[in-house]
């Protein structure tokens, strides 16, 4: 697979107003990624890519992340079948974040079994301090059936 090369970051004008992809990776070599559903607009997940994952995602047109818990490239859906086809990728102003708009085969993106990882609302303002409220009441799949005894990626 021929990964597209990234441009060097040379000026603020180039990064903010230019047409070259010159991503900024953090001190761990990672860039945060926001993934939304192309149809509903819902934020499905927040994850990270290293340069190789970003290059593969661009070339393949399917989301490939870097798993911080497993420390390896993570072609989303390789285990679960819930592949994310990239319908649009966007970069932000200073190019230190990527937004993916995806179609999700299977309709779920969360390892807990929900459609979105963001299945709980945090009360704000007058309701600050009240318990979180679930925004999804039913899981789309049974994580035990899909992932078996694979280690849970959530870290305390």
């Amino acid at each position: 697979m021929n990964a597209p090369p990234f441009s060097q970051r040379q000026s603020i004008e180039q990064v903010e107003e230019g047409v070259e992809l010159a991503p900024k990776f953090d001190e761990h070599g990672l860039i945060p990624v926001v993934t939304t559903d192309i149809t509903s607009g819902e934020v499905l997940m927040h994850a990270y890519m290293n340069a190789e994952a970003l290059a593969q995602t661009i070339t393949l047109g399917e989301a490939v992340y870097w798993s911080r818990s497993r420390k390896c490239l993570w072609h989303k859906g390789a285990t679960s079948g819930l592949v994310q086809r990239v319908r649009e990728m966007r970069s932000d102003d200073d190019q230190d974040c990527v937004w993916l708009r995806v179609d999700v085969q299977g309709g779920a993106s969360c390892h807990v079994g929900y459609r979105s990882c963001f299945y709980r609302a945090v009360p704000v303002g007058d309701r600050a301090g009240q318990p979180l409220g679930f925004t999804e009441t039913q899981k789309v799949f049974d994580p035990k059936a899909v992932y078996g005894d694979a280690p849970n990626p959530t870290q305390l």
Copy 2:
């Protein structure tokens, strides 16, 4: 302002399936935040909060971030007037990310002057390697008029 206390992270079940807010801050004391427009669903920006910013956002009902470039609390809109009123806040499965759904007074969230920070598309698949394409053709405001000579937050 009485900031709500956060719960201690004690078990994966509590963090993933519970109703307590037990956020995980990274080694810099920060948690990433995805901010979308309540109406269009568009991702407006990706930023960070420390514990104090998160607590203030919850209590105030307006987005307060931590500025990594200026190293201070950043009540969005204090300079530009483009306040983000939080209509819904969500936490993700492992509670290491926050999603804000906001109303933006003034209709813009990007310091470059665009509505969204994500105003450029990255070609993928068959079009990999082609130049970025602008998704917004006109700025909503003139950053020079709004921010004057304040230092640009973009870092190379």
